[in-house]
């Protein structure tokens, strides 16, 4: 059995992960915006006796990496010594993509160009002569449509054929000016005697990298006592001039290749460009985005309501039938109050979460999400947050964990820290059941609007946090925002449903393990010590709640609500699970909460605001520590969240008492 190591490389948002999923038959999240993949994903594909071990790299525009995700891609390409590189090129934007090709070919490894989205290129009036392109770049070119699996088998066969051709001399694609080639020759002459310090790079390519200012490579050679000609004697202005000459030569090469292989027959203005002038309009852009979000939450609440009602009726029926089975009273209490009351209650909100994921997938796949980042950039930039931060913030609506990992697309460390501290204020799907439950009980017809405003409050708090930290801690300006807007694509229900299912499945798995564990602990605390009434103030849960209750007295939270908050730290889903367990009884949680005299709209609103803003869950905290690499910043994120939650929940309650009464 032969094994071939394949790296999938390319610019952001050209369909690398879509091809990876197609090749490996797996599911990795894809989206119609740059920066979805921030670390390397591994998979395999078998073809006869050959196994392809495929790595999907984060997108990068060049090998001069600026952001952490680009560094990951660059390091894999330069140091992992794969058998072959497959560069995925967006057929609708060949020239820009070929700039990376000019760099990848210099590495000297076998390489293939997979020309993706040829169907869209054709629709746009772009005709590509693949044979001519192949001849010009000196690489095999395979036309594919990764999303439709077109051309994928041919690509696999080409990979197998080309992987064995390592070491074949290739005609250089880029012709550098004589001033540059003279420098390159001088550097190559010296460093070819020190190959052991060049990792896997050829001396020729290492020379180019040194002239471009590759600091780690230069440091390695200096450590070995090597004096690098030109580089060591250059003034900074000369280095810049060299970099400029090299880039210019690469752009010229890309342009030359494109001009004779690609023909734009219609020269049309794309409808995408025309629509963007309205959807990213300086006055209409933000209101249109807010309208989409408002409808998304109205749909989340309303469309899921019939299913949620059905599940509630089902779980109610099971609870009733448990009572007739004649089981041990403790077992009956465990099953009805603990399992059904806790896990069952959370499960009845699963339709809301699935619908929210479906809507977010539709927005992502259509390409609108990238526009949302663009329209928010002006506002966010003026408030001290990088416009690109908005995409991680929006991903936070699904789950804060991938959102924090998505900050790897940000270049400056200050931007990353500020965005990471702000992300926990974005309301993840796990908090949705709390809103659906309480808003449904206390705000009825206005529930969707209340949920919308909670999400807006989360966004505003995140932006306010960014502003504060930018002004008080990081005094530099956010780095400029440059993002390639992807074309609009009609989202298919199949792809959106697949995204929804995979994200929802993760939620269900968490629900099955974390929530079940959480509600067992809460049920045990509500049962012990033996002899006290279940869930009473005398139980351990009651004692715990009463201990912490004075802290939350200004917010009007009952001890049951306090216990829910304490266990919500494990995972936010446990808040509703805990309430379901503690308020366990014959009636449904909705009926019990509606009938609790200690609860009213003002307290419910304050509770929802507190749940929205307080401590991130354990998993999020772990990722914050991992990405920040500092306990200090993790502690700041934690403390800031609690402080903001308490203050804003208190203000909300005061205002709500004045406006809508208790």
């Amino acid at each position: 059995m032969t094994e071939i190591r394949v790296l999938l490389a390319g610019n952001p948002n050209v369909g690398k992960t879509t091809l990876f999923n197609t090749l490996c038959g797996v599911y990795q999240h894809t989206g119609n915006y740059p920066g979805v993949t921030v670390d390397i994903k591994e998979g395999t594909r078998k073809s006869g006796t050959v196994t392809l071990r495929i790595s999907d790299l984060p997108g990068t525009y060049s090998l001069s990496a600026f952001t952490p995700d680009e560094q990951v891609a660059r390091d894999a390409l330069l140091t992992s010594n794969p058998d072959i590189i497959v560069q995925i090129v967006d057929a609708t934007n060949i020239e820009r993509n070929l700039f990376l090709t000019t760099q990848l070919t210099e590495i000297g490894l076998p390489m293939i160009i997979a020309l993706n989205m040829v169907d869209l290129a054709q629709e746009s009036g772009i005709t590509i002569d693949a044979a001519c392109l192949s001849k010009n770049v000196g690489l095999p070119v395979v036309k594919i449509v990764a999303s439709k699996r077109t051309g994928v088998d041919e690509l696999v066969q080409t990979i197998i054929n080309e992987a064995g051709k390592a070491g074949e001399k290739r005609t250089p694609l880029v012709h550098y000016p004589s001033s540059i080639t003279a420098h390159l020759d001088a550097i190559t002459k010296v460093i070819q005697n020190h190959r052991e310090h060049l990792t896997n790079l050829t001396p020729e390519y290492a020379s180019i990298r040194l002239l471009e200012g590759d600091q780690p490579l230069s440091d390695r050679l200096h450590k070995a006592g090597v004096t690098i000609p030109v580089v060591d004697t250059c003034e900074p202005a000369e280095v810049d001039a060299h970099i400029q000459d090299i880039m210019l030569a690469r752009y010229k090469a890309a342009e030359k290749v494109t001009s004779c292989a690609v023909c734009c027959s219609m020269c049309r203005v794309m409808p995408t460009d025309l629509l963007d002038q309205v959807l990213t309009h300086r006055w209409f852009g933000i209101p249109i985005f807010l309208s989409f979000m408002w409808f998304a939450f109205q749909l989340t609440f309303s469309a899921s309501a019939p299913l949620a009602s059905g599940l509630e009726i089902l779980f109610g029926g099971i609870t009733e039938s448990l009572g007739t089975l004649g089981l041990d009273p403790t077992m009956t209490s465990f099953l009805s109050d603990g399992v059904i009351g806790g896990v069952g209650t959370v499960f009845s909100f699963v339709p809301s979460i699935f619908i929210l994921f479906l809507l977010l997938s539709l927005l992502e796949d259509s390409g609108y999400l990238a526009r949302a980042a663009f329209v928010m950039d002006r506002l966010m930039h003026s408030l001290g947050l990088h416009g690109r931060s908005f995409i991680p913030l929006l991903i936070g609506f699904g789950c804060n964990v991938p959102a924090i990992m998505a900050t790897r697309t940000l270049q400056s460390r200050a931007d990353r820290i500020i965005t990471i501290i702000s992300i926990p204020f974005m309301s993840c799907a796990a908090r949705l059941p709390v809103y659906v439950l309480l808003a449904g009980i206390f705000f009825e017809a206005q529930a969707g609007t209340v949920i919308f405003f909670l999400y807006i409050l989360g966004i505003l708090t995140a932006i306010g946090t960014a502003l504060l930290f930018r002004r008080l801690v990081f005094h530099d300006d956010p780095s400029p925002f440059i993002m390639e807007l992807p074309p609009y694509r009609s989202p298919t229900l199949h792809a959106a449903a697949l995204h929804m299912w995979h994200r929802g499945k993760e939620y269900l798995q968490r629900a099955g393990i974390v929530i079940f564990g959480g509600v067992i602990v809460v049920w045990t605390l509500a049962t012990l010590p033996f002899g006290v009434e279940y869930g009473s103030a005398e139980s351990l849960a009651g004692t715990l709640g009463h201990l912490a209750e004075p802290i939350f007295a200004p917010l009007g939270f009952t001890w049951q609500l306090v216990v829910g908050l304490i266990f919500g730290f494990i995972a936010k889903e446990v808040v509703v699970g805990s309430l379901g367990t503690l308020y366990g009884g014959e009636d449904s949680l909705t009926t019990t909460l509606a009938g609790d005299p200690a609860l009213g709209p003002a307290t419910a609103l304050a509770y929802m605001v507190f749940v929205l803003l307080y401590l991130p869950c354990v998993a999020t905290l772990g990722v914050i520590k991992q990405e920040m690499g500092s306990w200090k910043w993790t502690g700041i994120a934690l403390g800031w969240g609690i402080l903001v939650a308490f203050v804003l929940a208190w203000i909300t309650r005061i205002v709500a008492l004045l406006v809508i009464g208790a």
Binding site: M266, V269, Q277, L279, I288, F295, L299, P306, T449
Partner: protein
């Protein structure tokens, strides 16, 4: 071809009608939402504001379209597509609410399905969509109308 020649003239006039209906629907939804009774539109203050936004979008297209035809098509197409998307969402929301009431055994009125301001606006938007879509794609190919 200019907006004064058929069929663009008809489409332009129809966009005027659509703009008026959208703004009117938005105002009624807001008035109904603040508690004034006897208005045949579902009370919905935020929804009313969105309808006013869409009306403003269409009105901007009409205003700028008198000087720059491409602007009319851009704003008109975007406004119409948003009205249709939001109209469909509104229909799903009303349908789901109706279904919930039926499941819970409460009184439900099927008329609420079509009493949203978005449905009012979506009805005249449906016949306008094919025309404006053709204009947009024609515009993108030829660079003019």
């Amino acid at each position: 071809m200019s907006i004064t020649s058929l069929p663009h003239k008809n489409l332009y006039v129809w966009t005027v009608v659509l703009t008026v209906v959208t703004i009117f629907g938005g105002i009624l939804a807001i008035i109904s939402g603040i508690g004034i009774e006897g208005i045949p539109v579902t009370p919905d203050v935020p929804g009313g504001c969105i309808l006013l936004l869409l009306g403003a979008l269409l009105a901007t297209g009409l205003y700028e379209g008198s000087r720059d035809h491409a602007r009319w098509v851009q704003f008109g197409y975007t406004g119409i597509i948003l009205i249709l998307i939001f109209g469909a969402c509104s229909l799903i929301i009303s349908g789901a609410n109706l279904l919930s009431l039926m499941i819970e055994g409460e009184a439900s009125d099927p008329v609420t399905l079509i009493s949203s301001g978005f449905i009012w606006a979506a009805l005249p938007a449906i016949p306008a969509y094919p025309g404006i879509r053709n204009l947009l794609f024609g515009c993108s190919q030829e660079g003019e109308f």
